[in-house]
Symmetry: C2
Subunit: 334 residues, 2 copies
DNA sequence: CTGTTTTACGTAACCGGTTACGTAAAATGC
DNA sequence: GCATTTTACGTAACCGGTTACGTAAAACAG
């Protein structure tokens, strides 16, 4: 039995309305009663129930974050950024680990709907139609983080196409001609079935007159493991590769790892570049060169956008952030 | 305006009580009305409010998880495990990033209290008295994950002392005599001011008649960065070290990274062993040998324990899990 | 065909807050 | 001094569910 506002009111000889007003700094009470009530609150060690408050206020000060993966550093760095701004604003965040699984995702959306969250962030998640349909039913501000969509949902992301183009071009300018790519899951990108990072890669090659062949790309998922198996398969298929463009840093880390175990020196024998520039990159051996997509900024921006929508109910602009090569030690000139 | 149970009741020509009974499978209604109500529910696309439900049921199906750090892989693996069992049970998890910060932690506890969470897990957090005091006020099941306490709070953890002993002994048996240790934050372990992992390290040395000197230990925090600065400082102080015992894998990764950049070959010139066996270890160059503390099991066990307490209100036993050396490539025989 | 038990509901109070509205007392104007 | 405005509250309805209790109808027993 914790105390309720009634207990406080009774003990202070006032009405619950007055207590409520004092709790919310709404004025309409004298200094004297305020002190009296505050004393009782302290004495009873009373804390108002957020649940009850949520019922009337229609605001739970809670947001949901859908992530495809909790073991990816990129994602947890996103989570970190989101949590940080949420906390500043006084909101809590519920993490939902969807594993990129459709049914699980929908179940989570339903759960969050029932919990009456104030807003929702989808991190690195392709917005399928069924998700979108559900979300409009929820009538809750949503923003996509590191994803974009043709549905009218605001997103903050990098220009994956451009960033991949830049990364590939960097490799080319270093003199590489035989460049393989290890990409994430094909099926993840239903929309338009063009994978931006893959397209950027291809375009950079063709713009520099480097012949391209589908066998230069290996598709896996997004994890480190996919980097290691990816490298093995790729090298098997086309042995004279001098550089690998990894679709993200986790894959890049996997490539580094596989290369080490295969006795292939990086960057002497093989150059590798990743994308995202997660914080682990600089601690790799060798430190992994990467295309930074300013994802720290991204997460905070997405969160701020969402809270802006929650608080003002205004439409909001999409946001595309810059990218930039962070040179470290995993690429050398050919 | 989303629909409420009243809308459903009205449209189906029954009372809200009946709808509620049907929603909760409580019996006391005919098949016919059940179908009728279910139809209306589907038609209106009604979802009951978890907030309202929480108010009467005094159960929010939400738990809180306090983590000191969201960028540590160990912690996110914990989070992963907890989220997984919570989801199975139908609970949501609110992440609270305390940054090991006392005031922030208390603020979070208060927030979780107001949110009326059903249970709480403190991951890798030393249970200070002030936290404990607050927690007893909350009257909510709590379990410590990868931490222990003298206060009567159930914990699930490894035996850090023993594990460190085992890890150090392993190094000794490989012929190392000049072993340095890089440890986490001294101040984190207020309780008894003995750091279990440090004590285990010292004890292993003395049991094997290896002279010990405080200068062999460097204290930092728990991050990769502390591993890199730690190694530099340590090597400066005592240059003839042949092995490093890292208090956790992140520090171990930092050591690997620093060694690489310093041109010190691991394991040829320097052996390093970490602790926790996070999933990144095996992808390092070289793959990092580590003392596994079965932390996957740990997280799930902690979560299960907490839910058991929530559901049955019974006392519950502490749990100390095994450890085991996972040999990889970062240690060689001297 | 009664009398009793069971079934299938409805009514209304309750969970713990917020708030629109009403009013007595205090403050202000003249 | 009285009329008017302002202040400081209290009352009660409401948010959206759950549930104890009551009861008419149905099922069953004999």
């Amino acid at each position: 039995m914790t105390y309720t506002i009634k207990d406080v009111a009774q003990k202070a000889n006032v009405s619950t309305a007055t207590v409520s007003r004092i709790l919310n700094d709404q004025g309409g009470y004298s200094e004297k009663t305020k002190r009296k009530v505050l004393n009782v609150i302290q004495e009873l060690d009373y804390y108002p129930s957020g649940v009850a408050r949520g019922l009337t206020n229609k605001r739970t000060d809670t947001i949901g974050v859908l992530v495809p993966n909790l073991t990816s550093s990129l994602i947890t760095e996103f989570l970190n950024g989101i949590e940080s701004v949420a906390h500043k604003i006084g909101s809590s965040v519920i993490v939902c680990h969807t594993e990129s699984h459709g049914v699980k995702t929908l179940k989570y959306l339903q759960l969050l709907h029932e919990k009456r969250i104030d807003g929702l962030i989808l991190a690195s998640t392709a917005l399928k139609k069924e998700y979108y349909d559900y979300i409009v039913k929820m009538r809750v501000p949503v923003v996509l983080l590191s994803a974009y969509s043709e549905f009218p949902v605001p997103y903050v992301t990098a220009d994956d196409y451009e960033a991949a183009y830049t990364g590939t071009k960097y490799l080319i300018q270093k003199g590489h001609k035989n460049i393989g790519m290890i990409s994430g899951n094909k099926e993840e990108w239903i929309a338009g079935n063009l994978i931006p990072r893959v397209e950027g890669f291809k375009r950079a090659l063709s713009d520099h007159n480097i012949p391209f062949n589908e066998s230069y790309i290996e598709y896996g998922k997004f994890s480190i493991d996919d980097g290691v198996t990816g490298l093995k398969i790729l090298l098997n298929r086309v042995p004279d590769l001098t550089a690998i463009f990894a679709e993200n840093d986790e894959i890049g880390m996997g490539v580094l790892s596989a290369a080490y175990n295969l006795g292939i020196k990086v960057p002497e024998k093989l150059s590798v570049i990743g994308m995202d520039d997660i914080s682990l990159c600089k601690f790799m051996s060798p430190p992994l060169t990467s295309v930074s997509l300013s994802h720290n900024e991204m997460a905070e921006k997405a969160a701020n956008l969402m809270f802006k929508m929650i608080n003002s109910d205004t439409e909001v602009n999409n946001c595309i952030l810059d990218h930039q090569i962070i040179e470290r030690k995993s690429v050398r000139s050919q």
